[in-house]
Amino acid sequence: MRKISIFLIMLLCSTASLIAQTKEVTGKVTDAKNGTPIIGATIKVIGFKNTTTTETDGSFKLNVDGNAKTLEITYVGFTGQTVAISNGLLEVKLQEADRNLSEVVVVGFGTKIKRDLTGSVSKVGAKELNNTPATSFESAIQGRAAGVLVSQQNGKLGQGINIRIRGSASVTAGNEPLYVIDGIPLQNTNLSSNGAGTNSLSDINTNDIESIEILKDASAAAIYGSRASNGVVLITTKKGKNGKSKIEFGYFTGMQKPTGKRDFLDAKEFVDYFRMAAANASRLDPSFDYVAYTESRLKRYSAGNNDYETAKVNTNWQDQAFQDAPISQYDLNFSGGTDKTTFYMGGQVLDQNGIIVRNNLKRYSGRLNLEHKVRDWLSLGVNMSFARTINNRVSNDNAFSTPIQIVAISPITPLIDPRTGLTSGALDLNTGNPNTNYPVYYNPILSVENTKYKTTVNRTIGNLFALATITKGLTFRTEFGMDQLNQNEDQFAGRLTARNQGVPNGAGFNSSDQILNINTNNFFRYVTGFGENHDFDVVAGTSFQKWQIASNFASAEEFPSDSYKKLNAGASKTAATSSASNWALLSYFARANYKFKDRYLLSISGRYDGSSRFGANNRYGFFPAVSAGWILSDEAFLKSSKWLSFLKLKASYGLTGNSEIGNYAARGLYGPNAYGGLGGQSPTQLANPDLKWESTASFDVGIEASAFNRRVTVEVDYYQRQTRDLLLSVDVPSTTGFLSKLQNIGKLENKGIEFTLNTENIITKNFRWSSSLNFSANKNKITNLGGQQIGTLNRAQEGQPLGVFFAKEFAGADPNNGDALYYKNTLNTDGSKDRTTTNNVNEAEDVRIGNPNPDFIYGFRNTFTYKGFDVDVLVQGVHGNQIFNGGGQYMSASGSNGFDNQTRDQLGAWQKPGDITMVPEARLFFANGTDNSSRYISDGSYLRVKAITLGYNLSPKLLSVLHIDRARFYVRGQNLFTITNYKGWDPEVNSDAYADNITQGYDFYSAPQIKTIVFGINIGL
């Protein structure tokens, strides 16, 4: 009934306009700067529905209602105009108002318009961020900003995401950027107890974010001095606007799946393969009957019967690691304001199931941003948010209990043991205890069914601020912020997990952490001009930050039954500890921007930082930066250019620091070391009172240009970043009793280019197509490590990029006997490399077999709008990096490690003399080619359709009938397709059990990424 009435109303409206008297209006739209015609500008009759667009000569012709008074003329990149309808040709001159250049960009302690920016800043706005079906906002940046490499370790929820801005600047200190939300540095501490890091940024509701600015060069970042070497990410949350109050409701729901799976042997292949491996082993070692042994083991893994001989049971264990994974998110927010007060209030519920069994996450969050003008010279405000995140997690990648390790279990093993009717491995009927030798490994399903591991985080982030105008142009702003994080982890593993826990009657732990991070910023800003040609914008102030943590951890065993899950029931307490730590940072900073003739730009900034982490001798560091820009397009010789709309050259140079080391890293320390129930102590750390800041000198030169009425915008940056005085954990002779000492030794460099191209490809009345391409290439090289090499497989080594893979060069199977062969690669006396092969792995040299750092990364976004419809496609990729399969020695080992099920490619193993293959002969327990080598390295390049959104916005007419302001329906796909040569689960990978600065691109039974489709609606009232 309602639908019909809407239709009737629409019909009435349209007929009404047909009946009315009309008149013809003609005109021409040109660029005010140079008089060139503007093609495709939209002409709209205010108060009526007819519109048109300009022709190739800028002209338009439109029939309008006799009562129409004004036209509105708009065009992308220009300020819209309204003109009164008059007879004769209407001459409309539009002024440039490029949305890029007039766009306000948030920089440290202030804002700037993009046109005047001399540093390098990438901005990602709310439009790109909103409604990303991912736990954490970093996922929404991926592929959208040049020079920013975002990689998620795996598809477990709320876990580590690595962000590298213009490469890695450090070897052993931190490599993650500094995050600042509404002026307050966020703490980003990993508090996980299970060996796999969590991501505390996932406590932030992406839909609350108005914009993310990524400060990439020294000029932009040096105002954050000591912690800016890895770039700074500024997060600005939404604010209310003066005007009608808005109510927005959003909802999406959908399904998630793994992006990929690996191929493993089925039951028949498995039995045949291991019989072959056993026969080969018996040939090599006749003293032991591997064949009979293997038959007895196959029978054992076949639940003690002979079903394995007929492949009667053929279990796809891999499928058991995954679950159906719905995701839903609900948003409700209110915003608005008067000329004195603005507000934004938002709330969100995210309910996400992981693709991995037993993994799910719920987050409840709320925010209030309020600003009020108390006097004409004084404003006060508050930004407050809270979040409660409940994450039911699984073990780290390197645990028998982690679901993906289920792939090691034999396909001949049934899910349910027919002897007990219970999950395989649950009980041994002989002993009544959990089975300790069936299946081949601990069955992770037992942990899924009998373990809970719940991480609850309560987070409050907020700040209060006051802004006072002292005299004209001079303001003082004071901010006091805090970021409080309370985390509790509660784990209980029941009796059936005994084989994994090593204790018979249940085990549990409880861990609590309280972090308080407070920060105050106090600074003056003075904006003034002298005469027509000189503009100044000066900021100076101080900042103080203090961070403290208090933690406790307790664990117990011997529970009366699985019904008791809290430690009060655990009779044997196995740990009870508490600990605390803190650090403080005191800073003085200043920045001066000077603009001459509105086109010569100069910016100088400096920060003087003192950190409690450094040695008494070198506690303070100074971090200056200078940058300059020249807007050439405003010069007389370019002003008249018909095609060039804007051209700016810019360059910057500056120093930033890194202090992401332990809180007491400069001191000589003793720590507790108990023995036999008695308290003891022992030395834990060597002192280094000279320890000082690691610093990075960055040089950046860039060009920003737009042309053809700003339909094409290009930004190119070239940079060099030289890091020196690396905060390096330097190996020392272990005969000293210590393994390493933190020292300022070594240098590394990053060089790269960034390229961004934005184009408006087609603009017509109903259809618009725009593209944005970003491309960046970074070359990282360690130039000096004081002669040391850190790491064995992933290495930090002089002359090489950070994390480079070194191992033996694999040469495949010996065609004569199936032995794994390696190229010796030892140096001959003439300096050449010995390219002969050997089956003795110790005779072969370690050589560079790959690099986990991509040669280049890119993102390509296309948006299409047609009437109410819009399509947004983001393609993202990395190229030229390699991945090492750390699980290869077990899963792709020619059956030589034991009874781990093998990847299907192992079927290509050597079988008879003359076989040419890269898979050595299958030999049970004769490690044949399982040492780290290029056997396990592969190309990690990928191209991914990261996000596709298809949306429909209800027409204004329909909306007004429904009495709503906005309504949008959409379907969105995340990670839908991936093109890659990588054979593992997913090429975006780094094992959560091993990931650190150096260990990158290392796959170890890592959960694949998440592929998502959601259907959503947004309604605005």
Partner: protein
Amino acid sequence: MKNRIFNIIFLSAALILSSCSKELDTTPFSNIDQNNALKTSSDVEGLLVGAYADLGAADLYGGGAFVTADLLGDENEIFWSGTFQGMTQIKNKTIPVDNGFVQNTWTNAYKVINDVNNVLGSIAVVTAAKQDRVEGEAKFIRGSVYFDLVRLFGKAWNDGTPSANDGVPLKLTPTVELNGAADQIPRDKVATVYDQVIKDLTEAETKLPASNGFFATKYSAAAMLARVYLQKGDYAKARDAADRVIKSGKFKLTQANADGIIEEFLYTRAKSEDNTSEDVFAIQVRTTSGTNTFQTFYSELGRGDISINGPHYDLYEPNDLRLNLINGDGYCAKFDNVYGNVHIIRLAEMYLIRAETNKRLSTSVGVAPLVDINIIRNRAGLDLLSAVTLADILKERKIELSFEGFELHDIKRLGVSTGYFTGGDGLPYNSPKLIFPIPKRDRIVNPSLTQNEGY
């Protein structure tokens, strides 16, 4: 009014800043500064306790140093099915120079040595009445650790000339700060290291009390000396040291319970235990501290990576109660308690040393060899012998101490091949493959360290 507010803001900002610079002088909460660590007697005694904790590290006296010695010395008695590649390499006798287990044994050993060097360096701070005990314990630990280092990383005493063969670097002073090239100390000769070991252990025996809780006693030192002298073939001194331990009367063999399980290895549940009457020295494991690495690798309740092969079973006489220490699935059940203490020296070993050395020297210090062997056999539920040969004694030793870390070292001192007791014909006792490589990481930071042959 406006000015007043500004004044307040500026004043408070100035106040905050002046107090903030003091905030940079933070004090650690969970650790303490080294300058405050060794000020009192109890501080130094606490460091000694910490040294025991480090001695009990998983890859050292937690058991790792012995499990790896058994894997390396084994020919055909055990079956390794574990997934730790480092252990697989040791079992296969193809050890790369960066093997993690080998490296950990080395680095953990020097950590303990630095602990006790610090104790000895601060011995003057210790209350006079306790000085001898503290010094004795520190030297017991240092002597024991150097002994295990030199026999794992150096050539056997009976392989060539000990005074010419490289042993391990001797570091006898505490490290307070780094000293550049002075820290790059070369390897001392095997004989030099043995001399230091004997000196430390002898002084320890002199200074230590007869009873000392679960810490090292006079007899722990004597027992370790017996082991050291036996290893270098100094049978008379080995015999006398073992005799001192037995004669002290402080220890007695445990007996089998009604189920035929020798109580020394009785497994009840995951629960920490006191030393048994048979333990001359044991590393303490508690639910909150320590690791029993034997349990980790041997026990079916641990990783169950090592199972027992047929040739080993063939060593036993049918009624041997020690067969009960191999369970139905073929796993060694000596170490099933995850929180069980690590038995480093048992009284049984002393009987066996005394028997062997008396036999070799044709003496009867204490008692005749036959008596000692029958004590062991009696406990194992076997018939008593009426006469005993050296071969009988060695076989009894082999069975009694199996899987407790003796295989490699006995093969070496006896100058036989791996698999000697089970009829296998493996690597000769002096094969370079039966010696650990010097860890790569240390050779990088200390170029004066030579590498062992074959690596």
